[in-house]
């Protein structure tokens, strides 16, 4: 149970306070409701490049990092297909510095040409390091456009191609800022050794004067139902063959999401999970295998991926995965097995409540989903899932015509 208080400033900024006096630290987390899905198809990777530019100085503060480090603070950020999230941790006595820094860059950036030029290079190196210069690094660059034909989830957060990043201009940066980076599109969570009254005062002081800006109305092309199986084979400089199967699945806010999430746990969480037990240990067909969901705000994908043991054909490996998926469709999961994944979820949540930053990020994310209180109701939603729901979701999702199969063959 994570307690919090909530208020909204007149410019639309939503603020959540989580008082936690067991720590001498504080966290200030700001979630901007913008991700790679909001990009122009001709300028992909922009939300993420923009995140880098948020550290290139703001209108009144030439250097973001230095003053924060001077008060003993640290910060970072990440961009996903759905959101961009910035966070600061620092000694709670110095919390005002976090308000000062974050409010100034919400007010306006410095829009420095030098910063844009350098960060374009940095992001291009990131593109190479994480996606191109690694075995299997480009999986999502291939899998997304295979699974999505209309929705902007068809490109990765890093972008479709390096040229999109090279082509970014300062005018684009200014337009993106005006469109997405204003109080109405943000959720701020302040947690740690702070009081709600103190946060209210500081929020009014530093964020209150920022103009509300325009509300961004999201209107994205939705993915039409997939009607036929898709398949792509890539020959790549990789040491082992690999197999990826993506299935369309419900969105994060869908009533069926929790059942599907447990489904991925049944298949691949822990050494007792079905795919590991059967395909790695018993049948010895794979050296590793995983199942997971993208947990996306619009309809996401459920992915099963694995590396077959040398000598095992892709056909055999693939058939073995389908055999396991068919079992879930044909037979209800036993109560003990379902209890197992529920227990695992319960303890994961308990351990994650030990981290102040995790709590702050979760409160922001659930507020975006509709209500921060959903964070506290999450456990009950998992506990309520029945074997029948699991079976129905399996039947809905694990269909050939709903699948996109990507095969990597070692050169």
């Amino acid at each position: 149970m994570v307690k919090f208080n909530r208020f909204t400033l007149s410019n639309g900024l939503r603020v959540i306070v989580h008082e936690d006096i067991t720590t001498p630290m504080a966290v200030l987390n700001i979630l901007y409701d913008v991700g790679a899905r909001d990009e122009d198809p001709k300028q992909t990777g922009f939300a993420h490049l923009f995140e880098h530019l948020m550290f290139g100085g703001s209108v009144n503060i030439p250097n973001y990092d230095e003053p924060l480090q001077r008060v003993g603070g640290e910060n970072n950020a990440f961009t996903s297909n759905d959101i961009t999230n910035y966070y600061i941790t620092l000694p709670a006595v110095n919390i005002e510095t976090a308000f000062w820094l974050e409010s100034d860059r919400m007010l306006s950036l410095a829009f420095s040409e030098k910063s844009l030029e350098v960060q374009r290079n940095v992001v291009i190196e990131e593109f190479k390091q994480r996606y191109l210069n690694q075995p299997y690094g480009d999986v999502w660059l291939n899998l997304r456009p295979l699974a999505y034909k209309a929705h902007p989830y068809r490109w990765a957060t890093i972008g479709k191609e390096i040229s999109h990043i090279e082509d970014a201009r300062i005018g684009d940066v200014k337009a993106f800022f005006a469109k997405h980076y204003n109080p109405q599109n943000a959720i701020m969570v302040v947690g740690g050794d702070v009081t709600t009254a103190q946060v209210k005062k500081l929020a009014e002081k530093w964020f209150g004067p920022i103009p509300a800006g325009n509300k961004y109305n999201r209107d994205l092309p939705q993915e039409p139902e997939q009607l036929a199986a898709r398949r792509q084979t890539v020959t790549a400089k990789v040491p082992l063959n690999a197999l990826y199967i993506a299935f369309h699945m419900p969105a994060r806010n869908d009533e069926h999401y929790h059942a599907v999430d447990l489904l991925s746990d049944l298949l691949s969480r822990g050494n007792s999970s079905r795919l590991y037990r059967t395909l790695v240990k018993d049948k010895q067909l794979f050296s590793e295998i995983h199942a997971y969901t993208t947990e996306s705000l619009d309809a996401g994908v459920f992915v099963v991926d694995g590396k077959p043991v040398a000598g095992v054909s892709i056909e055999t490996a693939e058939a073995a995965i389908w055999e396991e998926l068919d079992k879930l469709k044909n037979e209800p999961v036993g109560i003990d097995e379902l209890t197992k994944v529920k227990n695992k979820t319960e303890s994961t949540m308990a351990f994650s409540e030990m981290s102040l930053l995790d709590k702050a990020m979760n409160l922001a994310y659930f507020e975006l989903l509709g209500d921060a209180e959903l964070f506290n109701l999450e456990a009950a939603q998992y506990l309520a899932i029945t074997p029948l729901q699991i079976q129905h979701q399996s039947q809905d999702i694990f269909k050939k015509e709903n699948s996109s199969t990507l095969v990597y063959l070692a050169e």
Partner: protein, 424 residues
């Protein structure tokens, strides 16, 4: 009108409060430390064992024994172990390190009585079945094949091997080393190493008398020492070759790793050298990041770090840079190391680094688990919590002259091992 150009007032960190652990020595000589704090009804139990003497002929014994601990005992198969641990929502983790290897259990208190017997069984009665060993060997060999195509992985192991030679610190196995692991050796190694006298138990979480009793009963009884394990280690024979280039035709980036063996935490200069390391590459605003990422845009990230082991320490710089700027990046790194040795750091930069390091120490004490981690850092170096008082005192009092002196004493670029994996 609000003036946004001034930094709000701030305070320096004056004190770090660490939780003092409870301590008992069990009848079988196993030392137990516990840290009680927090709201959540959960515990983390770590069982830390000192590694046996490294055998260059059988370099993977320690790794294989540790990794295969959950692969079966006389009374439980690997599948049954997994079922029990997972059913109770617990996490059983095995990790091997340079000096120690450990078994960790994360568990809600309400399930502890059901999971402890499994862990007890694993550390006292593992049997390393032949079939599981064959699976382990094959899967590890496949994983290694993938890792060997990652430039940063190759750079790290090439560097360690050069600096520490054929020891646990320089471990750099190939597929053939996996193939020669034999069950009889594993059983022998296990029996020697996983004895109570060679074990330190570190428990953190919400621990009342009942939980403590559960743990002491579980590990204090029916687990005895059979003999004295050999935990001495062979001396290092570092490579004579400082420059190591592994060419990867067609690489888009080169992984660079540079550095040297150096003092460890037990040396009085260690905290001060950490200040030097932080200035150079230990935080986002460091000189290496400011120059090579934020000014030149050669890389997504560059950093330097220090590691402290029982018999040595290491100081290293690591990055992955565009293949076309590999040479330029090397020159800039050399330049930054030399500036530390020739120019006095400004008062402004030094005070920033000091505040950053103290804030970072405070921030690293997030919950009761982190207090236990801090304890492990000093305890396994033969030190105690006084270390952190010295550490904070040294960070507060270090001068620009000290930084210059230490840089000259410990950083000699010409004597650094230099590893490049990619293209020059």
């Amino acid at each position: 009108m609000l003036d946004r150009t001034f930094t709000p007032e701030f305070k320096a960190i004056d004190r770090i409060n660490l939780i003092t652990p409870g301590h008992i020595k069990l009848d079988n000589d196993c030392n137990l430390f516990w840290f009680n704090s927090g709201e959540q009804e959960l515990v983390r139990i770590e069982m830390v064992f000192t590694n046996l003497r490294f055998n260059p002929e059988k370099p993977l014994l320690n790794v294989a024994v540790n990794t295969m601990l959950n692969d079966g005992t006389n009374s439980l198969t690997a599948a049954q172990i997994a079922d029990k641990v997972d059913y109770y929502g617990a996490f059983l983790q095995v990790d091997y390190g340079f000096d120690h290897s450990q078994v960790t259990l994360y568990c809600l208190n309400k399930h502890l009585k059901n999971t402890l017997p499994v862990i007890k069984d694993v550390i006292t009665d593992s049997i390393f079945p032949e079939k599981e060993l064959a699976t382990f060997i094959r899967n590890q060999q496949q994983k290694l094949q993938v890792s060997l195509q990652k430039n940063d992985f190759v750079a790290r192991r090439t560097f360690n091997k050069a600096v520490f030679g054929n020891t646990m610190y320089g471990l750099s196995p190939d597929a053939a080393d996996y193939a020669k692991i034999e069950r009889a050796d594993l059983l022998q190694h296990f029996k020697q190493m996983y004895q109570p006298g060679n074990c330190t138990l570190i428990v953190a979480g919400k621990i009342d008398d009942d939980i403590l009793k559960l743990i002491t009963h579980s590990f204090g009884k029916d687990w005895n020492n059979t003999d004295v394990p050999d935990i001495s280690q062979p001396a290092f024979t570092p490579s004579a070759q400082l420059y190591n280039y592994v060419e990867k035709p067609g690489a888009l980036q080169s992984a660079i790793r540079l550095g040297t063996a150096t003092i460890n935490r037990t040396h009085p200069d260690f905290p001060a050298l950490q200040v030097v390391n932080t200035i150079l590459g230990g935080y986002f605003g460091s000189r290496l990041m400011a120059n090579i990422r934020e000014d030149k845009g050669y890389t997504y990230g560059i950093g330097s770090g220090m590691s402290s082991m029982l018999y040595s320490g290491a100081l290293f710089i690591a990055t992955e840079v565009g293949a076309d700027v590999t040479g330029a990046a090397m020159k800039e790194i050399e330049k930054e190391v030399n500036i530390l040795k020739t120019e006095l750091i400004s008062a402004d930069e030094l005070s920033l680094v000091k505040n950053y390091m103290l804030g970072s120490l405070l921030g690293s004490l997030e919950n009761v688990l982190s207090h236990a981690d801090k304890f492990k850092n000093v305890y396994f170096s033969g030190l105690d919590f006084d270390y952190y008082d010295r550490y904070t005192e040294i960070i507060r009092s270090i001068t620009a002259q000290d930084v210059l002196r230490l840089s000259n004493e410990y950083l000699t670029f010409d004597q650094f091992y230099k590893v490049i994996v990619g293209k020059v």
